[in-house]
Amino acid sequence: MSIATPPPQPSSAGIDLPRPFLDWFASKGWQPRVHQLELLARAEAGQSTLLIAPTGAGKTLAGFLPTLVDLTRRGRPKPGLRKPGVHTLYISPLKALAVDIHRNLSTPVEEMGLPVEIETRTGDTPQSRRQRQKLNPPDILLTTPEQLALLLSHKDAERFFSDLRHIVLDELHSLVTSKRGHLLALALARLHRLCPHLKATGLSATVSEPDLLRQWLVPQRTGGEMAGIVTVAGGAKPDITILKSKERVPWSGHSARYAMPEVYEAIRQHQTTLLFVNTRSQAELLFQELWKINDDNLPIALHHGSLDVSQRRRVEHAMQANSLRAIVATSTLDLGIDWGDVDLVVHVGSPKGASRLAQRIGRANHRMDEASKAILVPANRFEVMECQAALDANYLGAQDTPPLADGALDVLCQHILGSACAEPFRADDLYAEITTSAPYAHLPRETFDRAIQFVAHGGYALQSYERYARIKLTKDGTWRVAHPSVAQQYRLNCGTIIEAPMLNIRLTRQRKGGPLRGGPVLGKIEEGFIESLVQGDTFLFAGKVLQFEGIHENDCIVSKASDLNAKVPAYAGGKFPTTTYLSEQVRKMLADPSGWDRLPKQVSDWLAIQKAKSIVPGPRDLLVETFPRGNRYYMVAYPFEGRLAHQTLCMLLTRRLERAKARPLGFVASDYAVAIWGLRDMGQMLRRGDLSLSGLFDEDMLGDDLEAWLDESYLLKRTFRACATIAGLIEKRHPGKEKSGRQMTVSADLIYDVLRSHEPDHILLQATRNDARTGLLDIGRLGDMLSRIEGRIVHKDLEMISPLAVPVMLEIGKETVHGDDVSDALMAEAAEDLIRDAIGADI
């Protein structure tokens, strides 16, 4: 995020900028922008403000200008007088962004010779500097939500923040949608109490509901209080096109391999191209494909969150030095870091959301008055429609940022423990403070009290742990930490980022025979992925094809593979479903043949054949097709509600079909459709009335069927593990420790099973269910869909597969869902082989 302020604009009169600022602007030939002065004026009037501005609008300087002016007026502390504490806190979602801002802010501060000290404090800051910062704090402290929570949990937090005047929250739109945002909201509520005159400035990209962010910034006392808002209109409309490929657009898949020559040509014709993909595995694949045809040896680099830090830094430096022609990246580059002179953004695959597209395009061209240029490359035919919808939305300025969820209960539990570590608290006071934060404004008192019980001794109905309590209610009515070790426990477990256990990928030089160790680290990879490999398997990572050799302690040892056809890393993260807004647009597009001519001919032809052979559903309808194929019978439905909600739907439909004796065998879910197959003719069952679609898709499936399924769902267990760790029920795994005595550890799955059968209403199970509504199970979206389609299900019984069904049918076999059934089948198969071998040997 550059703070440079290009071409002059009309200056806003009447603002009294100190001399050094006027001189500095003059020396650069610039003038302060209207919104920068506006923010200054509001801050001087003591108001909190939300600034919504596109990239390149000088957001950072706008956020810090009030601080710099105030500190300049205050001047350096007189010798002998107490040096004031931190004046301004800056919170960023990324460590890298804090470091970047430090650099960008230091330049004007040095050039103007301002009496301002700026320092960062992140997880990487050495202990000695942290200590020094507490004794001798800088004027501006740049930090992260976790570090702020830690600072607030110290006994001297109140003194440390006594001089705080201003807090700047960067990339607020991205922070507020996560549990980190909840942690930050609770910290902000504390700061507002400690410093009643605190002004909060939120910096945000365009969002669908700015009022929610305005409420987020200020204490909610009567409810609905809002910070002021300053909106900077977007610059020139971006120039976005959808790649009109001469090649055939595939039916399914996510690789967009067909378009590589055209993408490469676009790279050649531009100075610097940023290529965005949705997942790390797509990034690896795209990088590999581009290098296969990189005849000109263009410097093309790869950047994603799993790569080793030093490699990422090298790429970032090369990018800033403009020595790269293209960079393939995932969302690690979504946030506002300065990336040099990008003149083209290529999005490979659908961006899956209108706002996400806007934010990613903003990466190109930091001069907001020039049009950014972007090309969308749909990976399959449904994505063609999705890209068209995203493009339309961008033109209209439509936004589909995710709705804000209520504050998570596991984060609440963590915060309560942190509060007790700072100072003894009264439940009434803490409840009053917490409910001033927007995400927790509607927190029921009863839930808060249960959270305290959980923190104190687990909150179980069977109260057998009271004598070991972490916090105790004392005679004066305050809750106090029962033992000094509790604060240490809190500090080790603070934070909300629960990463899947990761292993280092180490490239060994030794081949066969020698011990498996040594070699450079290429990055980190999820343990879950490695678990599915056996020695000799190959996969793509860091742009190389690697062969899995084995695991040594926390290292996954690999060698360079000669094989060019690798398995692709199946990363857990990064696969987000299409947003509700975009899905709705795609349904509308599908329902309206008069607009099909805007789509590439091969896509409109495809839809026309669908119309002739089956049905094109209306925008609110659910089309269900049934047809035989091979010796199986298929049912394909098109809800267009995203992969997660579809997976949940499939699980529940399969249960119901089993009960109806349709003998289902399997299912597959894409972002657009679901397919279920079985041994009985479901079309015939529907015709005869043995099966009813309205019954099958009835909303009541979210009742008992859901509960019964949740009992066994590994997805819910994964969600529970995260909640239990954040809430402090189980301790975070710390690198290096976990391998000692694995049989002594308690797995979260076992705790989940015991808790579900003995105390289904426990606060952590409540937290888990809340997360499941929006998270991995997307139950909320499924519920909305079921009520939308009530009475609007259209059935078409076909003799053969329909054109629309082809994409989802092609997914069959590519992806299957794990579960106990699969596990049992695998073990049974291995046992059968063993028997067969034994019998064979006997004969």
């Binding site: 687990g458 309590a469 070790s485 029920l729 063993l834």
Partner: protein
């Protein structure tokens, strides 16, 4: 590790796998217990009762229902096989003071399980002194029907030996998918029992800790499936 926690009915309904061991038939139950029909002997190992309250002493508050859940499973096994003798093969209690923390309900449950049977508590490394206030006889080891029962397998033992301690589990990888489950580990001479407690993790049978205990050629991991036991050979097994 084990498939999802089962109701008592499901635990009872599991289908045991018969193996030939020390000249007689032994049933390996998917709940993790072994049934020596000739002796009417039921063996379980590593129940780790009161593991929850043991963690609570370090202020980690696992659900306090582990003892009740484990004992309910043991009661179900006792009802299913109606043993004359039940042997707990050590680490029945998670720590040396655990038996003192047993609640009244747990004591009653143990009493009911032990009623009319011989209850034998082999001591383990987690519970070296015999439990107080619970019915049964504490022993260091036990020899019965030509089989030695002890908590930790001894490398120099050459005869049939049944032990626990390691919480064996096995990892099977096929078709790009992995399954990790608790298992009975045996080469036909030595048998290492899976842990029976609901809060217990497992140590992969490929770990160095098992070195020298088994004959590789005849080794089997009897993996605990959700309703049956699967015999898996070394070829399919992988380390963690």
């Amino acid at each position: 590790m084990r498939a999802a926690l089962k109701t008592v009915e499901q635990v009872t309904a599991g289908e045991a796998l018969a193996i030939d061991y020390a000249g007689s038939e032994v049933l390996l139950d998917p709940a993790g217990a072994a049934w020596f029909a000739a002796e009417r002997l039921l063996v379980v190992s590593d129940m780790h009762l009161e593991k929850g309250s043991s963690f609570a002493r370090r202020r980690v508050f696992l659900p306090p229902y582990d003892t009740a859940a484990t004992l309910a499973r043991l009661a179900a096994m006792a009802a299913k096989y109606d043993p004359a003798t039940i042997v707990s093969l050590g680490d029945a209690f998670h720590d040396d003071e655990a038996s003192e923390r047993l609640g009244d309900d747990a004591l009653r449950a143990i009493g009911a399980i032990a009623r009319g049977r011989d209850m034998v508590w082999v001591t383990g490394n987690h519970d070296p002194s015999p439990p107080e206030g619970v019915p049964g006889i504490p022993v260091d080891m036990l020899a019965l029907g030509g089989i030695v029962f002890r908590h930790i397998a001894e490398a120099q033992e050459t005869g049939h030996e049944v032990s626990g301690h390691w919480h064996p589990c096995a990892r099977l990888v096929r078709h790009g998918k992995a399954v990790r489950r608790a298992c009975f580990a045996s080469d036909g001479v030595r048998l290492v029992m899976p842990s029976f407690g609901v809060f217990t993790g497992g140590l992969n049978v490929r770990d160095e800790a098992y070195a020298g205990l088994f004959h590789a050629a005849t080794f089997r991991a009897y993996m605990l499936g959700s309703d049956r036991v699967h015999a898996v050979g070394p070829r399919d097994l992988y380390g963690d």
